[in-house]
């Protein structure tokens, strides 16, 4: 399996070349490095914004989550984002761009400091923004490792015996980090915009191509729908088909292979009962719990406990209605992403946002619908215990015979991952340099060249830290980690909404909102085991509670504290 690796290497070389080419247009100023001198037009802005928001979460995570919970994942994230992301761009992005252009802001913190007449709000927000971006960086590095591993299985048996010859996760993650750092360092925001455009085109095309080839391998779309995991009347979970590894054709399992048991609404169904079980649990949002036997892949038999009974694990299918409703707080996160803020500021004009407003929902649909379908189809073919982050790559490897195509499709996945990493790496350096170093030392203390290097050094530090954390968290669920990141940022949006639209919002209200939000966030994050899936009673997402805490703190404390003097500056009309 070295051919896919060669294709991936060519893709990475092209990406690096494009990034280095963009450096020819680098004007050498810190303004050009951080916000591309406000020169980005509508197409590049769309590609940058969309590419940045679509990460490992969108391709690898969505497929894996659909494999776990079914097609409800699309409504959970994709269609809600279609409405709410664009609302944030319209209501928050354009306004912040205007103030950024008018008052010379390069970061969100500069805006908040000015709006709330407070240095301290910046020192409070800085570590929080860094802390919340780190899970987002983690999923990129983990996603890259999980993607490369299955497609390179057997390629280097002597070099990497522990992984069966596959390129190990530590090496994939390292290569991806280094390449992104090189082109971001070379060209700053402009390099990120150009690279994102290339990567977005690659991953969108390859996503559709992967979908077409996988569905063709399954005998077409109608046939693919038939292979999805099914339940029998007796509550058994069965895979009616298997893939013949030699011919790569679907062969019926006679009888269908039993892989687990399903319950409906928490009640165990008896053999022969007429309990209302979802026939194909992935194809609706009906709640059900499945039980599986833990399987030892090396010994090729179930794991037994000390009493000789099989060790069991559980999975929930479907979506609780309250979870579906409260998940709508998650897409609010784009209103506070520091790396998206930086992209917004690169816009040439307010009109540059228009294409993004219309096309962003459609682009999400083009990427997510195929991934969600592939994930549900995979339930009928792959072992239930496979790491969700590996589902897309394993489906590619097993169903697509052409190694060049596997390489191209894998490059597409990497493109989605790296299109977010570059913006996130870059924004870390930007906010450290502008909001900490220059704020304390003064802008005249350093020349442009020194400022750019300060940003680069801090970025390297964060990347090293994140890489180490990623290697320690390599088996964490990509989707779930991302949700924690989005929960944190989404919960902070009361601050930016109040800052932009409420004249009465005060500095004390902003402090209270940040503290209330992060206090509740950290409480729930620790309760989740630091990154696992976690919902409150009835399926309520922690994001809803954290957002409410932040909003109430902002409103209550603002009303009992002195009004700001910045109203005329930020509410001139």
């Amino acid at each position: 399996m070295t051919t896919p690796l060669i294709v991936i290497a060519i893709y990475l070389a092209l990406l690096l070349g494009l990034g280095l080419l963009s450096s020819r247009f680098f004007r050498g100023t810190s303004k050009d490095y951080f916000v591309a001198s406000h020169s980005i037009g509508p197409v590049l802005l769309l590609m940058s914004v969309f590419g940045t928001t679509m990460t490992a979460f969108a391709l690898v995570g969505s497929t894996g989550k659909s494999f776990e919970r079914g097609i409800g994942v699309y409504g959970l994230m994709a269609s809600s984002s279609a409405l709410i992301h664009a609302a944030c761009f319209f209501l928050i992005g354009i306004r912040l761009w205007v103030f950024g252009k008018k008052y010379g802001y390069v970061t969100q913190i500069q805006y908040f400091r000015d709006r709330f007449e407070s240095n301290g709000i910046g020192y409070l927000l800085f570590p929080i923004l860094i802390l919340l971006v780190i899970p987002y960086l983690l999923i990129g590095i983990i996603g890259a490792g999980k993607t490369i591993l299955p497609v390179t299985a057997g390629a280097f048996p002597e070099l990497f015996p522990q992984t069966g010859g596959a390129v190990p996760e530590w090496l994939s993650g390292l290569v991806v980090c280094v390449i992104v750092l090189i082109y971001v360092f070379a060209g700053g925001s402009r390099a990120a915009a150009w690279a994102n455009t290339f990567q977005t085109v690659v991953f969108m095309i390859m996503g559709v191509v992967a979908f077409v080839f996988i569905s063709n391998s399954l005998g077409g779309l109608r046939n693919a729908a038939k292979i999805v995991l099914q339940t029998t009347d007796g509550g058994k979970l069965v895979q009616p088909y298997r893939l013949d590894p030699a011919t790569k054709e679907l062969v019926p399992n006679e009888p269908p292979k039993v892989i687990g048991m399903i319950r409906s609404g928490g009640h165990e169904s008896a053999e022969g009962s007429s309990a209302q079980l979802p026939h194909q649990p992935h194809m609706t949002r009906t709640l059900a719990t499945a039980t599986f036997k833990k399987f030892d892949r090396k010994k090729k038999k179930p794991v037994m406990d000390s009493s000789g009974n099989p060790v069991l694990w559980h999975r929930e299918y479907g979506i609780p209605p309250l979870m579906f409703l409260t998940y709508m707080f998650i897409p609010l996160s784009v209103g506070m992403f520091p790396h998206l803020f930086q992209h917004w500021l690169t816009a040439k004009s307010a009109k540059s946002f228009r294409l993004t407003l219309i096309a962003h929902p459609l682009c999400i649909m083009v990427v997510w619908v195929p991934c969600v379908l592939i994930g549900s189809w995979a339930s009928g073919l792959l072992p239930a215990g496979i790491p969700p982050a590996a589902v897309l790559s394993v489906m590619l490897k097993q169903l697509v015979g052409n190694e060049i195509l596997i390489g191209l499709l894998t490059a597409g996945i990497l493109a989605a991952i790296m299109s977010s990493l570059d913006s996130q790496f870059h924004c870390m350096g930007t906010i450290f340099t502008n909001d900490i170093v220059l704020h304390i030392a003064g802008k005249d203390r350093f020349n442009d060249r020194q400022i750019v290097w300060l940003a680069r050094v801090f970025t390297i530090g964060i990347v090293v830290l994140t890489y180490v954390l990623a290697m320690k968290s390599i088996d964490k669920n990509v989707f779930d980690l991302a949700i924690w990141c989005f929960t944190g940022f989404g919960s902070l949006t009361p601050i930016v909404i109040a800052a932009l639209y409420w004249k009465r919002a005060t500095k004390a209200g902003a402090y209270a909102s940040v503290i209330a939000t992060m206090g509740t966030w950290f409480y729930f994050f620790s309760a989740s085991g630091y990154g696992g899936e976690y919902v409150l009673a009835g399926g309520v997402m922690p994001a809803a509670v954290c957002f409410a805490a932040g909003a109430m703190a902002m409103i209550f404390v603002s009303l009992i504290t002195l009004p700001p003097t910045t109203v005329k500056k930020f509410f001139p009309v």
């Binding site: 409504g75 354009i94 979802p278 209605p321 579906f324 307010a350 096309a359 379908l373």
Partner: protein, 88 residues
């Protein structure tokens, strides 16, 4: 350029439509429905794909009837003072 009053009416219309869309997003009527559209796409997935298209149309309408021209005028003004430093 759209008159301010027309833009304000446009913003009210868009706000109402966003609320309606948010309610329609909670499509409890398709929750347990396992009908396949075109023989392969679960109806709930098809509905939400159409929802995404409807969202794009909504924002196209927002650009037409609720575009913040007053903010564009603000951005065109030449004041570009840097962020001020205030005590915290």
């Amino acid at each position: 350029m759209v008159p301010t009053s027309q833009s304000k009416t446009g913003r009210k219309i868009i706000t109402a439509l966003v609320v309606v869309m948010a309610i329609l997003h909670q499509d409890f009527w398709w929750w347990d429905n396992n009908t396949l559209v075109f023989g392969f796409m679960p109806i709930a997935l098809a509905y939400h794909a159409i929802f995404s298209i409807a969202a794009a149309c909504l924002w196209a309408l927002a650009i037409k009837i609720a575009w913040p021209y007053h903010l564009e005028r603000l951005a065109d003004e030449t004041d570009s003072s840097t962020a001020s430093e205030k005590g915290g």
